[in-house]
Every structure is written in structure tokens, then in C-alpha cells.
Symmetry: C2
Subunit: 178 residues, 2 copies
């Protein structure tokens, strides 16, 4: 759209906090009525997530602790896209590092903004098939995950029962299975 | 689980930034191998989002600008839960304030963590039916939204084509329509 009356350009940007994982920015934006407003946002790197599915319908997941929500949850493998890494390469890498299975075939599902209200971050979702068991798990020093495998139907049931609570796993499961 | 070996307790918590919308916390956590690690998280208030659906399948949406992703997007009505407000009351209120339609019937779909990696925030999704047109739109001074209505099938098609990019709208549409 050439001139969108709802578009709110950024007039000024300060950085009150720059961490190793996320950067907090304070934006002054120009509203449609030409007045100004402040918006606090976090700048994070984009991520990928992948649902690895065997021919017989078994899916490989991970269980890990998430300090922000103070819960240990079951989710699909995922991770931050490295510099100069393609989304597909990142999906293959994270899948192998977290589950020990490397997908030969990838299908891109969608890219979505996970917290459009205050975060710059996008997650791209893939389904991975033609899995090769390499056993090549490789985790960061501070990363502890446990492998969990189950039938896709069970995962879909857990999604519908709200026993899965992260957006990437719910979305990926529904987009792949329905 | 009484003793989960993956659980990572918080040893220390500092607040490098406290904004009006979000608070940044720096956590020192104890890893399963008893070493320590730092995690940066943002504390935000929980939200609700609602898909209002007419008897004939028309859904009422809003278009608004999202400074964090620098895009104007079409999404379902949503908002922050006020203190002492129930999730259902918040869903009814936000739906009416943003679209001018008040749902007499609510169906809770799921509650999900939208950015489990670094945010405390949960969103609870509802479908709203038996809509009453009150015309009672009411927006904050700095909130500018445009009403958009379309058939549910079109919204579902836009989701599958990745023309809808926010997690709450994609999730709510898929959970309601599939």
C-alpha cells in the first residue's frame, strides 16, 4: 500500500537495555492523528522450529525447562537462526542437534510473528520427513533437553487438550496434521 | 512431577529495565548440572484474543499497525487483561471495543505461551458467537484500528496462504475452523 493511513512511522529510537539475548528499544512513533506515542519493544533474533515426522507417524520432540514461564514443557525442536545460515539449514541443524534425527526432506509451513505487540521476532515453521537417525545430538553448555517420541495423533490430541502450550508446537502440529 | 531433573530454579533476579508496558528481568538460574546460567526475560501482562463469528460465518477482525514488526496487519480483536477482570469479561470487552460487536456466547479454546523462550506472557483464545451489534467501539487515545469483516473460509484461506502472520489469529482460526 503506497499510503496506509494506519502506518505509524518511528520518529526516534533509544536502547535502554542491550543484553546478550535481547535488546530493549523505546520507540517514539507518529500516530495517524500526528500526535506521538511511546512503544517499548524487544529486538530478538529470528528462529525456526521443525516437526520431524517418521514414515509411521512417530514424531520426535524435546522436553526442556523454560525459565520465563517457570515450566518444563514438551515442544518441537527449535532454535535461533545463525548469521549467514539459511532457514532450511537451521531447521536441519536444530533438528539433529536436539533430537538426533536429520530430515532429508523439509516442507516450509509458515512464518509468523510470535509476539507482534512488542517483539521483532519471527519464527518459521517446517515439517521434516525422510529422517535419518544420526544420533548427532549436540547441545550448548547451558542447554538441557530430553528426547520424547510419540505418535502424531497423540501430539494432536495433546494440542487439542491444551497440554501443549507453546505457539510453535501447536501451530506446526495443526498446520501439518489438519 | 515431584522432582523433575530438568527443572531450573531461579537463584537471583534483577530488573535492569522497568517500563510502562514491559519489565526486563535478568535471571540467574541453576542448571541440572548445578552450574549457573543467565537468562534475560520480559515480564508482560497476560492477554486474551477472540474470534467473533456471525451465524452466517462472517468474522469481524481489525487492522492495525504494529511498530515492533513495522507492519500493518489484520488480526482478531485482543487486549491485555485488566486487574480483577476475568478472561471472559476481558474477551467480551475487547471484542466490543475494537469491533463494535458484543458476543453473548463465548467458547474458550486454549491458553498458550506466545514466547516461552523469553516472555512470561500467556494469551487465552476464545471464539465468540451470538453477536450483538452495539456499535460500542472505544479505543485508547493512542490506539488506531480499522474494522474488517470477511467470511471465515476466506480467513482460513489467508491463514493457510500465510497472509495472516500473528500467532493468536492463526491459532484461533485453526482451532475454531478445523
Amino acid at each position: 500500500m503506497r499510503h496506509d493511513p494506519l502506518f505509524e512511522p518511528v520518529k526516534n529510537r533509544t536502547v535502554p537495555f542491550k543484553g546478550s539475548y535481547l535488546t530493549l528499544e523505546r520507540l517514539t512513533i507518529i500516530l495517524p492523528d500526528r500526535t506521538e506515542a511511546i512503544r517499548e519493544i524487544v529486538r530478538v533474533r529470528n528462529a525456526v522450529a521443525i516437526l520431524p515426522v517418521e514414515k509411521d507417524g512417530t514424531v520426535h520432540l524435546v522436553r526442556q525447562h523454560r525459565p520465563a514461564i517457570e515450566k518444563t514443557i514438551v515442544e518441537i525442536p527449535a532454535g535461533i537462526v545463525e548469521k549467514n545460515e539459511s532457514l532450511a539449514a537451521c531447521a536441519r541443524r536444530e533438528c539433529e542437534e536436539e533430537t538426533g534425527y536429520r530430515p532429508r526432506t523439509l516442507k516450509k509451513l509458515i512464518t509468523y510473528a510470535h509476539a507482534e505487540g512488542y517483539s521483532t521476532g519471527y519464527i518459521t515453521l517446517f515439517a521434516g520427513t525422510n529422517l535419518v537417525k544420526t544420533g548427532g545430538t549436540k547441545l550448548d553448555r547451558t542447554e538441557f533437553v530430553e528426547q520424547v517420541s510419540m505418535p502424531l495423533e497423540k501430539l494432536l490430541r495433546m494440542v487439542r487438550q491444551n497440554k501443549i502450550i507453546d505457539s510453535k508446537t501447536i501451530l506446526c502440529t495443526m498446520l501439518y496434521a489438519t
